[in-house]
Each structure stands twice: as C-alpha cells, then as structure tokens.
C-alpha cells in the first residue's frame, strides 16, 4: 500500500473514536482476531481501532457472531432509508448489496423498507415508477453492481423521461484489495453511475460510512425536487459490511426531509399571464406532465371554468376530467390552430405540443398553432433536460416562459383570472360544450364497429371491463394509445390516479412492470388496478406477475394479445410499400405466433389465477367477472385476450 493509498483508509475510519490515532494501529487492526478486537474495545484500550471490515473480523465459516455492541454499515444505511420514509426496496438480489439486504431484513425487520422481490432489474425500476406515480414518493430499487445497472438502464431512462422519482441504490466493490477474482471483480466499477449519468438527476458514491447519510439525502432531494427523476446512490459493499461500535453510531447522522414548497410564479407574472389569458379571444390550455396528485385536477378545472377555455390533455398524466365539457383533447386541432394564446402547462417537449411531423416519405413539420399564436409555457418539466439523448424534440421557443411549478402557481392564477373574468367567457364555454357534447355518443357509435368481431375489438374489450369496474375507484397504470385510447373515450376518468400517463422513454416493458408498482401503492386504498398490457410488453418482463403473486398484490392484468409487436408490423408494412416491393412479409420478425404464446399457462406456472386465450367476445364478461373476484380477494389475475391490433 502506498502512502497515498493509506490516507483515505484512515479517513474512512477517522470518525471512529481513536481510529485516527495511528495508521499502524489500523493496519494491525485488520489482522486481529474478533476476540482481540473486542478486547480493544474495553475502556482501557482507548487507542485501539474501533472497527474493521466485518469480512476480516468474521472469516467465512467461523460462525462468529457480530461482536456485542456492534452494528454494521448496512444497519446505518437501513436507518437512512427509514429516515427518508422509503417504504419498499424492489430488488433482484446481488452480492454487492448482501450486507445492506441482510440489514434491511434482520436489523430493520423487513418493514419500512420492505423487500419486494423482482425478477429483473428493469422491473425493479419500473415498479418504482408505477408506485411513485400513485404516491408521489420514491421507492428504492436496489440493483447489483455493474450488471444490475446495465439491466436497469432502460427503465432508468424511462423514469428520467417521464420525470418520476426513483431511488436507485447500486451495490459495488470499490476496493480492489478485497475483491475476489471472478464475479466480484466483474461486478465492480470505479464509476458505474457513468453508465446512466446522462439520464439520472444525481448520483453519489460515498467513500466513508460517515458520508453515507449526506449522500443519501442529496440523492433524495434531487429525486423529488423540481422536475423529479431517478437518482443513483452507490453503496460500497465493504462499507455495508463494515462494523461500527454503538458508541460511534451517533456520529452517523441521519438524513432529514423537511417540507418542500414548489416555486410558484411571482404576483406580477401571474397578473401578466392572467391578463393575456383574459384578453385572448381563443385561449387554449394544453397539459402534459401536470396531474400528479389529488389537487391537480380540481385546480385545473377551476382555471378552465374561470376562463371557459378549451383544454387539451396530451395524456402525459391524467390532467383533466375526460367528460368535462371543456375537454377537447380528441378534437383539439382546430382549437390550437385558432388559438391566440396557448398556455402550455408542464410540457416536457414544447415542440411536440405546437408542431407535428407525420410519418411520411418527405417529412415537413406542420405547425399545430396559428402564425400569430402566442405560446406561454408554465412549468418546470423541461428543466431537467440534458444533452445527448433526444427526449425532447427540436427547440421550440415560448413567447413567455414562466419557470415555476404549474400547480404551485395555480391558486394565484385562478384568483387573478376570476378577478378579470369577462361576461363573454360564458358564450365561449357554451360553444365549446356544444362541440364536445356528442363526443361520447360518437365514440359509442365507433365502438359498435367490429363489436362482435373475433379477435375481439379493443373497444369491446374496454367497454366490457368498464362495465364491471365503473363503480370502483380504479387505476389504469398502462398506456392506452395501442388500444386506440378507448378508456379515455368510453370511461369516466377524473381522478389523477385513474390514468398514469406513459413510459417516458417509449421503452417497451414499462407497462407490465409499472402496473405492479401502481397496484402495490393502490392496495391500501382498495383501488382496483387494471393493467392493459401488450403481449410484447408483457414478454419483456413476464416475471412481474410472479412478484404480484408472491407479495399478494391485487391487480387485474389484461393482456392485449395481438400476437405481435404490432407497432413494428405496421412500420415494416410502410417500408415495403414505400419501396414498392413484397408487401406480404411484414409479419417476419414482428409477430409473436407460430407457436402462439399461452399466457394463461404461463401465469398459472407462476401461481397466478388466469384465463385465456379469450377470443370470443361473449366469453369476456364472465372471464372478467371471475378475474375481478380474485382481485377482490387481494390477488393478481391474468386474462389473455386475443384482440384486434388497435
């Protein structure tokens, strides 16, 4: 060991009483027996080292218990998670965090946090996403050094894109000294956060236990502040296994979380915005990552009604009641084109809100707004952007960019608008209501096409489900665009938890796993969670339903089985057509048939109630009924529905 190597080792243990006394003593300490270590802890042994790596203290196979009066680093780490109010740790196990895991279970009693067994790291992170979208709180995803991070990376990318707080804890073996050749060496890295640093908000790799709580707190703060997102805290395995004497535990401070008040716009700006909106003839509200809690929607309804302005919900979250007369989401085009002011609320990608690009041979951006439309951006959802990955499209300017939390600004804005409201607003509202009043009837008329078809139409599937959950509090935790958005068109959606938006990074595999995390969060509320997952999405991580069974997480898990990666079938079809050659081969490499998957059998093999394949629409009702009965008992149930592609 060189002198410069030595310095950090002393530093690492410095906070322990007497440890700074001498390097030589430390060096010796790593060699002494447990008995000697204990003796050194007697009051007389003041100069003796207070601790040493547990692995040195307890060589494997000696059966030597942890010396009395000692706790280990993992215990402190567990305390930190508890202090951060983290309820669950989703994890596929790995030895780089075995010390931490054992502490959570045996020191922490596996309660707050509690272990949630995942079968893939990608699932752990997606679980945490679904959970956070319901609770607003981060769940921890504990992942193995290097390989776990690699597996988790797509889900981390989704979480970043979707601005969902996820608390990732990665194991690592920082010290080359003690790593065993083979897996331990392979699962160690000097800077593993580098793999995902482009799409996490913060990362820490504390090098002493004393620094751990500080690092844990900073990560937490970054995850939940501003535009939320994933963070990564690397917990060194040596540090997890390091022993500390009780006397020194007090030196290890615990993180503390205070109240957070989001930044709202100042009164002058609020007044300016209210004036713009009230003076506009055709203001439009366009909402993206806005609806995150139970106050969001009522506030937005109040604003929209005060203005009698049309609202477009881009469905990045559940932002506005789908049946509200001012909701023009499905007929928003003309409203945007005629708008004189568009208030873009928490848009992650302003370009996508105001411009369109069709999938055509020659791609020309098409403005959605008029030439003279003034665009006001209200929100912070664009502020977590980073270079390199294209989560948001081209740069689009806002005429007025109010960088304040939209929901936080809402009460003052509503007040200001109410003060300036004009009598002609009512007529505008009536005109809009006239145009939206038939939307439901229109949707029903369209739903009737293919009503009795087999494969089952997506409209029929959604109508059948709705019929049986319409009196429940419920969540659709999955994307609905591949189901032609029938839930938004046929159901009643008016709570922030009725729908949770999209994956954020368009990474397939999100839906099935996020659904389980959402269902876990819904469990104490007694809400029914209805996942509508693609067969392709499900096969990215089918083990998620085992997690639901193992942890008794109730969820109605419906597989929209169109026997393929249908989105890609259509892409391939387009390519062949444009090239004017064989248009009959779009199924090659895009379908999941020959042989057909038996999802019901797969679910059964994981101890999950299941039915299917259901391909006759008349069989839907009883199947859903039986599955819901299972869900009401507190368990998952899977239905394999052979359905139309969209």
């Amino acid at each position: 060991m060189s002198g410069s190597d030595k310095q950090p080792r002393i530093e690492r243990r410095q906070f322990l009483k007497g440890a700074a006394a001498a390097g030589p003593a430390l060096a010796a300490a790593s060699l002494v027996s447990p008995q000697a270590a204990q003796a050194a802890q007697t009051p007389a042994g003041a100069a003796a080292p207070a601790t040493m790596a547990v692995r040195e203290q307890h060589p494997p196979g000696t059966g030597q218990p942890l010396a009395p009066g000692y706790v280990v680093g993992g215990d402190h780490m567990t305390d930190c998670l508890r202090a951060l109010d983290i309820e669950y740790v989703a994890s596929c196990p790995g030895s780089t965090f075995r010390g931490f895991q054992e502490s959570i279970i045996n020191y922490g009693g596996n309660k707050k946090p509690e272990f949630l067994t995942a079968l893939h790291e990608d699932s752990s992170v997606h679980f945490a996403m679904g959970y956070a979208k319901i609770t607003g709180k981060p769940m921890a995803a504990m992942i193995h050094g290097v390989v776990g991070v690699q597996h988790a990376s797509m889900a981390i990318y989704n979480a970043f894109g979707d601005q969902v707080p996820v608390y990732i804890i990665a194991g690592n073996l920082l010290s080359e000294w003690g790593r065993r050749p083979g897996a331990e060496a392979a699962h160690s890295s000097t800077d593993q956060a580098q793999m995902v640093r482009d799409y996490i908000k913060w990362d820490e790799q504390p090098t002493t236990l004393r620094d751990f709580s500080n690092a844990a707190a900073r990560c937490y703060e970054a995850a939940v502040s501003g535009a939320p997102g994933p963070v990564m805290l690397t917990a060194d395995a040596d540090m997890q296994e390091e022993a500390i004497h009780e006397d020194h535990k007090a030196d290890l401070r615990l993180p503390k979380i205070g109240r957070r008040i989001p930044a709202s716009a100042d009164s002058g700006t609020v007044q300016e915005l209210a004036t713009m909106l009230c003076n506009a003839e055709n203001p439009v509200l366009s909402l993206d990552r806005y609806g995150n809690n139970d106050k969001s929607i009522p506030l937005m309804v109040e604003l929209a009604e005060a203005l009698q302005a049309p609202v477009i919900d881009t469905r990045g979250r559940m932002n506005f009641p789908n049946r509200h007369p001012l909701n023009v989401s499905d007929i928003g085009g003309p409203y945007l084109r005629n708008a004189d002011v568009v208030l873009a609320v928490e848009p992650r990608d302003l370009f996508g809100m105001v411009m369109a690009l069709d999938d055509e041979d020659v791609r020309t951006p098409r403005p959605r707004i008029g030439q003279n439309t003034k665009v006001v951006r209200l929100g912070i959802s664009h502020t977590s952007q980073k270079p390199n990955y294209g989560g948001s499209q081209r740069y689009a300017p806002a005429d007025l960019d109010i960088q304040a939390d939209a929901q936080g600004t809402m009460p003052a804005l509503i007040e200001a608008v109410k003060r300036m409201a004009k009598p002609n607003f009512a007529a505008r509202g009536e005109r809009i209501a006239n145009q939206t009043k038939n939307l439901l009837e229109r949707a029903k008329a369209e739903a009737a096409y293919g009503w009795d078809a087999s494969p089952i139409s997506t409209a029929r599937l959604c109508a059948e489900i709705w019929d049986q959950i319409k009196n429940e509090e419920y969540t659709v935790p999955t994307e609905t665009n591949f189901l032609s958005s029938w839930p938004q068109r046929l159901w009643v959606m008016d709570k922030y938890y009725n729908f949770l938006g999209r994956s954020g990074g368009w990474g397939v595999g999100y839906n099935s796993a996020a659904a389980i995390g959402a269902a876990l969060a819904n469990k104490p509320h007694g809400r029914v969670t209805v996942a509508l997952a693609g067969d392709g999405d499900f096969m990215m991580a089918p083990g998620v339903i085992w997690t639901a069974a193992h942890h008794q997480i109730p969820i109605l898990f419906v597989i929209h089985n169109n026997r393929g990666y249908h989105q890609e079938t259509m892409h391939l079809q387009r390519m062949a057509n444009r090239r004017n050659r064989a248009v009959t081969t779009a199924d090659i490499g895009t379908t999941i048939k020959d042989p057909n998957m038996d999802f019901a059998m797969m679910a059964k093999s994981m101890g999950v109630y299941s039915e299917g394949p259901v391909s006759n629409p008349v069989d839907l009702r009883p199947a859903i009924q039986r599955a819901l009965a299972v869900v009401k008992r507190g368990e998952p149930a899977v239905l394999d529905i052979v359905a139309q592609p969209r």
Binding site: D358, D359, E360, D361, E441, K444, A445, E446, A447, A448, Y449, G450, W451, D452, A453, P455, S457, T458, R460, A463, E464, W466, D467, N481, F482, L483, S484, S485, H566, T569, M570, Q573, R574, A576, N577, R578, N580, R581, A582, V583, T584, A586, Q644, P645, R646
Partner: protein
C-alpha cells in the same frame, strides 16, 4: 376538411388510374370482386394491420368498412396516397385483388345499432 382533401386526392388518383390502365385490365378490374378472396388479400397484403381485421379502424387507420368509399375513389386513394398510409401500387397489389378487397369491405355488415348494445348505454 380532411375528408375533402382525401376525396380530391382520391379523384386525382382515380383519374390517373383510368388514364394509365389499358382497356382489358380496366374491364377485369370492374368485374365483380370476390368476397372470400378479398378477405384473404386484406389479410395477406396487410390492410388489417392499420384498419383492423374488419376494417373497423383504430388509432392508426380510419374505419373503411362497412360502407367503403365507392370503388373509383377507393382505388384512387389506395394507389396514390402519400400520407401516413403508404400507397399500394398495382405491382404489389394487382387490380383484381383490390377489387376483391373492395368487395370484402362492401360485404362487412352494418354495425349493430348502439341502442341495441347494453354495454354502450
């Protein structure tokens, strides 16, 4: 508005179609389409992918059955469209197949009246 644009495109397409096809083929194409062959072609050639197996439509392609466009407009559109729907030329979709597909779409029965569907009340 969109529909008007489509019809203009369709008419232009239809004109092109009739201008360039020679008489015997035009006659053949005008022969009665075959429903069963049409359904098979609809599946084989991939129309179902965007329009659904019954032409009922969805988030990618609109409803094209029942009551499809009249054949000239229908064929004009399919042959010449350059938007989100890719064009199907006679090279990859022979005239007779297109005729048959049209016959199949014509044969799709009317949707049940919403009033008769309890779930949609």
């Amino acid at each position: 508005m969109k529909r008007i644009l489509l019809s203009v495109a369709a008419l232009a397409g239809a004109a092109a179609f009739f201008a360039f096809s020679n008489a015997p083929i035009a006659e053949a194409a005008q022969a009665q389409g075959d429903v069963a062959r049409g359904q098979a072609a609809f599946e084989r050639i991939g129309c179902w992918a965007c329009h659904g197996h019954q032409g009922q439509g969805g988030s990618t392609g609109p409803k094209i059955a029942p009551n499809p466009l009249a054949f000239p407009a229908f064929s004009g559109f399919v042959r010449t469209t350059s938007g989100e729907m890719p064009p199907f030329t006679a090279r990859v979709l022979p005239d007779q197949d297109l005729r048959d597909i049209h016959a199949f779409l014509m044969s799709v029965p009317a949707a049940p009246a919403v009033a008769t569907i309890p779930l949609l009340q």
